[in-house]
């Protein structure tokens, strides 16, 4: 074990990026972030191996991996989650799922609302320190003002939301990979389900009548 705490590798491909970070307690040993919309499946594992090497660690040194579960690009989320499940089996360590919106909120003062673009005039919303934590959900951009008032905002669609609510826009406190690894570290030792993508949207498919 690293002197500062258990080694955790965090990664996320839920949007048009590929990012990873290796942390030990409060220390960030290595991190990487690339803006790529395609090719994440080819890029992710080489990036993880490079981050491990830069941090002077091997796969076998890891106490757990943290993986971004979205919501976001369905295929992107599955790329990271499937890899994380393979890593967990290979190492016999837990893979811990971390939502994109809670990762965006990591290190920021509460109360806070994180807003991510969901396209089609919708956003993914998660509130922090605003009473009951309802978890991430999908809602119309136009519903945000009555819902949130002027609370501080973060996330990729915070600017668009702020134009409607008047809330202050906070920049991220941490790189996404670091946030995912930190949250996973905080959950280590608690009973965690296997990581599963957080879709928040049903598959785009309509039932077909018989005989069609």
């Amino acid at each position: 074990m690293a002197p500062d705490g258990p080694l955790i590798l965090g990664f996320d491909t839920s949007g048009p990026w590929c990012c990873a970070a290796l942390v030990a307690g409060p220390r960030v040993l290595a991190s990487a972030h690339e803006e790529i919309a395609i090719g994440q499946a080819e890029r992710l594992m080489p990036m993880l191996e490079a981050v491990l090497a830069e941090g002077g660690a091997n796969w076998r040194d890891l106490a757990a991996v943290g993986v971004g579960t979205g919501p976001g690009n369905f295929t992107g989320v599955r790329i990271a989650v499937a890899a994380a499940r393979g890593i967990a089996l290979g190492l016999g360590v837990p893979a811990i799922g971390v939502g994109l919106l809670e990762a965006r909120a990591e290190g920021l003062a509460r109360p806070l609302a994180v807003i991510e673009d969901a396209r089609r005039g919708e956003v993914y919303l998660q509130e922090f320190g605003l009473g009951a934590d309802e978890g991430p959900r999908l809602c119309d951009l136009s519903d945000l003002a009555p819902l949130l008032g002027a609370v501080a905002l973060a996330g990729s669609a915070a600017g668009a939301a702020a134009a409607l609510t008047g809330g202050a826009v906070l920049p991220p406190a941490l790189p996404l990979g670091v946030a995912v690894a930190r949250i996973a570290a905080a959950r280590l030792g608690t009973n965690q389900p296997r990581p599963a993508p957080l879709y928040l949207r049903a598959p785009d498919a309509r039932p077909q009548p018989a005989g069609a």
């Binding site: 499946a41 080819e42 890029r43 992710l44 594992m45 080489p46 993880l48 191996e49 796969w59 369905f74 295929t75 599955r78 790329i79 990271a80 989650v81 499937a82 890899a83 994380a84 499940r85 393979g86 890593i87 967990a88 089996l89 290979g90 190492l91 296997r194 599963a196 993508p197 879709y199 598959p203 785009d204 498919a205 309509r206 039932p207 077909q208 018989a210 005989g211 069609a212």
Partner: protein, 364 residues
């Protein structure tokens, strides 16, 4: 390389999540130590076919369960494996991607070689897994997504002699079953209904039998069944006997076409490879009794041994991927962590594509 090899195979290119462990010592029959298939029929019921996004969602959360299951039932740890083989295409890309990423994560961390396998190579090499067939041999891959005659010359040498110019026969079976109200994934349902039917009552076409070569077509045949139904007032108006007769006529037409084109393919194999000793069938359509009969007759007419793997190894499975992985590994193949998932990946990449084009490239 003469050592015993034990490979885990992972398959997720359509609607079955599958894993298996295969062990092989040169000179001995291959052994399937454990196999698991988690089907998704219930998830896609009512959608009129496999919904890619639904399939991908299921694969992503089942691959590890499948792999753990076969390791447990084989009584093996990861340290007992010599490699991980995974379907890297062709197929529904979301599922293939999930499988490839799972396999990469597992192989990298367990310190095992990774071998990406063409799903069709898995089908094409299955006769060697089940029956120890020697190269070269002729195989018909006939399933819901594919139909081609392939001369298998080596673990990585496939020569396509012909294939469908439109639909796959399994696709035609599924569409006919759905049209006649027999449910989705209806190959077995059509076969069951055909048992009490008279194949001579409806005169259905035998597409492309008037042409030389071993290309096939099934789209017109499917349409002919639909038209015959409409002339009787539509699928809701026909009785059980007419339905059985239609199923029998359709199945007989598919079997006739495959049998006749198998003869042509065997002749072509004779010219290309100087003759083959074995004709094998693979893919879900090979599980159909009437099809097996005409294919077997074609083999017998050419004096060639006919091999059909057991049904569970004709449909999608992990054992064929593990086996193809062992074959590729012995041929020196290793894939890196940048292994790509390919929605389209013709088995024979030395010939021009015959089906599909554009950005994704040819389908077959």
């Amino acid at each position: 390389m003469s050592a015993t090899l034990t490979f885990l195979g992972i398959e997720s290119s359509c609607d079955d999540t599958a894993a298996a462990i295969v062990r092989h010592t040169p000179g001995q029959p291959a052994e399937i130590l454990a196999e698991a298939v988690l089907g998704q029929a219930a998830l896609h019921a009512g959608f009129g076919g496999v919904v890619p996004e639904i399939a991908a969602r299921a694969h992503a959360e089942r691959l590890d369960l499948c792999a753990e299951d076969v390791l447990g039932r084989a009584g093996l740890g990861l340290g007992d494996l010599d490699g991980v083989a995974v379907t890297a295409g062709p197929g529904l890309i979301g599922g293939v991607l999930a499988g490839v990423m799972f396999a990469k994560g597992l192989a990298a961390t367990a310190g095992l070689p990774l071998v990406g396998v063409n799903h069709l190579a898995g089908h094409a090499l299955t006769p060697r897994l089940t029956d120890g067939v020697n190269f070269p041999y002729l195989v018909l891959i006939a399933s819901g997504g594919h139909c081609q005659f392939v001369l298998v010359e080596g673990a990585e040498r496939f020569h396509r002699l012909g294939g469908t110019i439109d639909d796959a026969p399994g696709e035609a079976f599924d569409k006919v079953a759905r049209h006649l109200g027999l449910g989705a994934g209806g190959g077995p349902a059509v076969e069951a209904a055909a048992r009490t039917g008279d194949p001579a009552r409806f005169d259905l076409p035998r597409p492309l039998l008037d042409r030389p070569g071993c290309d096939l077509s099934f789209s017109g045949l499917k349409t002919a069944v639909l038209r015959a139904t409409e002339t009787m007032g539509g699928p809701g108006a026909i009785g059980p006997q007419a339905r059985a007769d239609l199923c029998a006529a359709f199945q007989a037409a598919v079997a006739d076409v495959l049998g006749a084109k198998a003869r042509a393919a065997l002749a072509a194999a004779g010219e290309t490879a100087g003759g083959v000793g074995v004709f094998a069938a693979a893919g879900g359509v090979a599980a159909n009794g009437a099809v097996r009969a005409t294919l077997g007759a074609a083999a017998a007419a050419s004096g060639v041994r006919f091999v059909v793997p057991p049904a569970r190894l004709c449909t999608d499975n992990g054992a064929m991927i593990a086996w193809a992985g062992i074959e590729r590994f012995r041929a020196g193949a290793r894939d890196g962590m940048d292994l790509a998932a390919r929605p389209r990946w013709p088995l024979d990449d030395r010939q021009a594509g015959m089906l599909g084009s554009g950005r994704k490239g040819p389908k077959a």
